[in-house]
């Protein structure tokens, strides 16, 4: 690959083309988002937006492409549980403010203090139960309507390794920089998602703001979205399954958590510069690929 001055912009161009080819019914909305990006936000790509850009996006009216979410077919994973890698602060931020209910922590509690508490509580339960199942229920600590920033959240049935969480994150298409050191893995029973019918195959509009996203081909037999695994940067492959989930009540879903401290200096690292060229070639051929899961 020759010298590219702005990889993110180049990736965005390839992605936009591939997404429109793979999901033609969303092509006009992808273009609408593109014009918002270019004309209103004055940005080259949507992967490094600023605080004021997000503010402007939030102010877009209902019915705009920004609010067109979860348009993929309804689908639920065939597993027992779905997982999500997050942090305490993100969990709180992604819960609708007026519904946030702090139980044993408060809104002013420092994250490290809460996280340390979760770690100690988790080790105690692990010791006492002497089994591998030492998930903590979220219920005693926090509740509310879990919406995500854009009224949906990403989940995977891929069993996130609690011993090697960073590598699981890579397999789910995440770089190290997007995984907090004070990680909390959320677990949601799939029976809940099935009953509520709130999980969908992610559309290109859902994944629009992420530089690592593979849109499922429309009218295929796909039963889920698939991430791009970054675990081996020289050879990007299909990663775990993924779904987008509409807002739900945390208590009702009986969410459990597993705290993981990801601060090991020897942790496996995948950084953007290691995958950017491969991502560009991946997206440039994605439009033509007729692969289906």
């Amino acid at each position: 690959m020759g010298a590219i001055s702005n990889y993110q912009a180049a990736i965005y161009d390839q992605r936009r083309r591939a997404d429109s080819l793979r999901q033609p019914s969303h092509a006009h909305r992808i273009e609408e988002l593109h014009y918002t990006l270019v004309d209103e936000l004055r940005q080259l790509h949507p992967y490094e937006l600023t605080r004021s850009d997000y503010q402007k996006l939030k102010e877009l009216k209902e019915g705009s492409s920004y609010t067109a979410i979860c348009l993929g077919s309804h689908a639920a994973p065939p597993s027992d549980y779905c997982y999500r890698i997050t942090t305490w602060s993100k969990l709180v931020e992604e819960t609708r403010p007026e519904t946030r209910e702090f139980r044993f922590a408060t809104s002013g509690s420092p994250e490290r203090q809460i996280f340390d508490y979760f770690l100690s509580e988790h080790s105690r339960i692990k010791r006492e139960r002497s089994t591998d199942d030492s998930w903590l229920p979220l219920l005693p600590y926090f509740g509310g309507n879990y919406t995500g920033y854009r009224e949906f959240t990403w989940w995977t049935p891929f069993q996130v390794s609690t011993a090697n969480t960073m590598c699981s994150a890579h397999q789910l298409g995440c770089l190290n920089i997007s995984i907090g050191p004070n990680t909390i893995i959320l677990r949601c029973p799939v029976s809940f998602l099935r009953e509520k019918r709130i999980s969908h195959i992610p559309s290109a509009l859902d994944g629009y703001f992420f530089n690592i996203f593979r849109s499922a081909r429309e009218h295929s037999n796909a039963t889920c979205g698939r991430t791009i695994s970054l675990e081996i940067p020289d050879s990007l492959t299909l990663g775990g399954a993924e779904y987008v989930v509409r807002p739900f009540d945390l208590d009702e879903a009986q969410i459990s958590i597993w705290p993981v401290y990801l601060d090991d200096p020897a942790i496996h690292r995948i950084e953007f510069h290691e995958v950017r060229d491969k991502l560009l070639s991946y997206y440039s051929s994605l439009g033509e690929i007729d692969d289906d899961e």
């Binding site: 912009a9 709180v92 931020e93 044993f104 002013g108 219920l139 004070n182 510069h273």
Partner: protein, 326 residues
Amino acid sequence: MTNDGVSDFFEDQQRLKRNPTKNAWEREIEYLLEGKRQALVLELGSYAQYVARLLADSQDRVKAKLAFKKGFEAAIRSWRPESPSLEYNLALLELVAEYTPPNAFEKIVVALQKWGALSPRELADPDANQTGTLKALRALEFYYPSRPPQNSSDHKAFEDYANLLYRFAGKFFYAPHCCRRLIELKLLDVKGSDMAALRGMLEMPGVIEEFLQYALGIHRGVLEEYIGYVLDCCLSVYDRNSAHNYPLYDRFKRELLRLGAAILDPERRVLVLSFRESWTGKNIELLTTNLTFARYRQASDWEVEELTRKRFAAQAERTPAWNEST
């Protein structure tokens, strides 16, 4: 047209991890506070997690931490709370609470003393003012998680902080935080001479609630010792115009129930707590063992009936049972 200020983000990040310097960190902090790293802040959930991830991924962590510390102190030196946007100030205060740079304490205290708010601009917008000022008070908390030893060198700074707490304790929005801190730092003699002052504070919205959330939560520390005194105070406020009406006591009880307590023996007026019933019995046992509630499940060391008899003998007949108005 560019992705302004962030087009070289990954290069900046690599440089920072390989060769952290004070200047590079000062610049990165400025980008962060200005909202130029917002995409990653949203991914990670907070500014503090963003900094922590960059530090954790640095090639030489010690060098990175020292460079960050110096860079952050330099950013604080040039910070004038009255100038930047509220979002900038909120982001900065989040990092201050996490890393407690020595020079931030004075800046915040001076601003609060001078304007009674973090920034005079915010005074025009009451909501923004409250958010910024409460965040500032919360950031100061991390400089004094507990009372400093007597005669310690920073006694003057502590005195300034204590005065701020007294000052803001009289304002509705800040009373919950300030009252809880005054008890925690033993600045209020709730066992003796300051009972009337405590009663006054408890009447303000949110004060009892914040006290209980902290006293029974993961932060409990010394607050736990004062639950009985606060309950005493709540029981001492009797609405003479209305029989069986103890407004503060009702709030106390309501908050306990919200926190997951179940009152198991209303007849005896004994406070016996258990957790929510939606879990399996096994989970309840495991989860309660290590929490303060578990101790109270014994009910022997903290009985409303006992307190009532001792301190409010004359009113004992009219003291409501736990199951009333629940």
